[in-house]
Amino acid sequence: MQYSEKVMDHFAHPRNVGEIENADGVGTVGNATCGDIMQMFLKIENDVIVDAKFKTFGCGAAIATSSMATELIKGHTVKEALELTNKAVVEALGGLPAIKIHCSVLAEEAVRAALADYYKKIGREIDFEVPEAEENVCHVHEIPEE
């Protein structure tokens, strides 16, 4: 198993690590039993994500995908951020080993969870799928054919 240069760059120098005080949306996905937890903090003004930060407990891919996800949504509207897919994150990172695809799914879910929190805070109806918090269920997403 080998990570791309881009993955190693985002792992070794993760962008936007940390927390945002009084964030407009906070989402946490994954669980420690499975070895991965991602926490996403969003600062949103006029439906535009003006800042995004993350904290991650997980592998190199988990850290790199969190980092890339924050980069991809910063400066974008909430609507655009909701369209972020794990595939886009993987592509932006120059690919991930098949066994690590599930870590990128977590990054997508962390963004959605944070946006759902934002919707809830401003009293807007949540019209998108929100990852459910599941205890002790570790997801190994389908490994695509090589």
Binding site: G18, G35, I37
Partner: protein
């Protein structure tokens, strides 16, 4: 300190020693004949093979005709476990196998294969230090037990099992005793006569011989079924043209390793110094395994709130090679079965680090790990959403 390269994963593999390369080279360049050929070119190779067998036998306390060379530890384990169980079923109708929950996959998967053949397998638990629970073991052992397969030393937490005692108990019930000594060989004294075992496996690449070399010791008088059919090499028991150079390398490496055993204390001291430093200076750490009944070079520590693969990658960037029992770094995405077996919760197994030192490591290596590790752990904790902070 200046940047260095510190290889601290000797339980995974070791470099081939220069003396071993030197001993092997003539068998690649000059004595390259087939040891089964009758002409002189073949006899040269045969001589190397015979000498190697004698050397290995002597070092193990065995007879030359009790040594069968294999392609490594995995093959020897498969052969011993499956072959031993099937032999006892054929001879005595026994259908039960006892092993431990912390065996290497080569043994565990072999046991599962036996289950598919109708054997009943007891996976005996270990205590929180990783030592086999003797009461549970005795409760499982009976007249139906065909073979007991318990490893001499564990590859992840280094715990040493009471093989002599287990052997006595197994023999009292007429069962065969096999031990996987792959990790023990060359690190602690191993003598098959003193142990009394019927079979024992070893692997060359764990003690500075090349990968793909190994051996099974099988007590004289015991003749389980051969595992590989073919031209009848290894006294009809393990076919395939012998890996002469590799076998010569294995024997040379084992001789060197055994001659170094009196120096084990130095390795133990380096290991203990590293352990003491980590436990005293890095908060939220857990010492995994037994502090005394343990391989001298093995250290296994869990750092809470961080994940092992990221730890491994950052240490690698600093030039340090270690391994981890984290799910994220395994092909199965399951945390180490050994760490779970000693009762460590999954989230703590994820943050585990195995350091395995050898005679090639120095005090400077340990100093370097001590210099780099705390900062890397702190860095990962700073980005961990579950880290409560120091002193909490």
């Amino acid at each position: 300190m200046e940047n260095r390269f510190v290889y601290a994963d000797n339980a995974a593999t070791t470099p081939v020693a220069p003396e071993v390369v030197a001993a092997m080279t003539p068998y690649l360049t000059e004595y390259w004949g087939n040891p089964s050929s009758m002409y002189s070119k073949g006899r040269e190779a045969r001589r190397g093979l015979d000498e190697a067998r004698e050397k290995v036998a002597t070092l193990l306390g065995a007879q030359p005709n009790e040594i069968y060379f294999t392609s490594g530890g995995t093959e020897a384990d498969n052969w011993a476990v499956k072959g031993g169980a099937r032999y006892m079923r054929k001879k005595q109708g026994r259908t039960h196998v006892i092993t431990s929950t912390i065996e290497h996959p080569a043994v565990l998967r072999s046991c599962e294969a036996l289950e598919r053949e109708g054997f009943r397998v007891s996976y005996v638990a270990v205590d929180k230090n990783g030592i086999l629970d003797m009461e549970k073991f005795k409760a499982e052992l009976d007249d139906d037990t065909a073979i007991v397969a318990v490893m001499f030393a564990n590859n992840e937490i280094g715990t040493l099992q009471p093989i002599e005692e287990l052997t006595k108990l197994a023999h009292e019930k007429g069962a065969l005793m096999f031990t996987d000594a792959v990790q023990a060989m060359g690190s602690v004294p191993v003598n098959v006569r003193e142990l009394g075992v019927d079979m024992l496996s070893l692997s060359g690449h764990k003690f500075n011989a090349p990968k793909g070399t190994g051996a099974l010791y099988m007590r004289r008088g015991l003749k389980i079924d051969k595992y590989i059919d073919g031209g009848g090499q290894e006294r009809m028991m393990r076919s395939g043209t012998e890996n002469v150079a590799g076998i010569v390398g294995l024997a040379t490496a084992l001789e060197l390793a055994v001659s170094r055993l009196p120096d084990t204390e130095r390795i133990r001291k380096m290991r203990d110094r590293l352990a003491d430093y980590i436990l005293k200076n890095i908060p939220h750490t857990i010492y995994n395994g037994d502090p005394v009944r343990r391989l001298p070079g093995n250290l296994n520590i869990s750092f809470e709130y961080i994940e092992g693969e990221s730890l491994l990658l950052l240490l690698d960037m600093a030039g340090i090679c270690i391994s981890t029992g984290s799910a994220c770094s395994s092909n199965s995405l399951e945390p180490s079965h050994v760490l779970l077996s000693i009762g460590l919760p999954a989230e703590k197994a994820h943050g585990s680090m195995r350091v395995s030192l050898s005679h090639l490591n120095t005090d400077e290596d340990v100093d370097y790990i001590i210099e780099k590790l705390p900062g890397i752990v702190a860095r990962l904790r700073a980005m961990s959403p579950i880290y409560p902070g120091e002193g909490k």
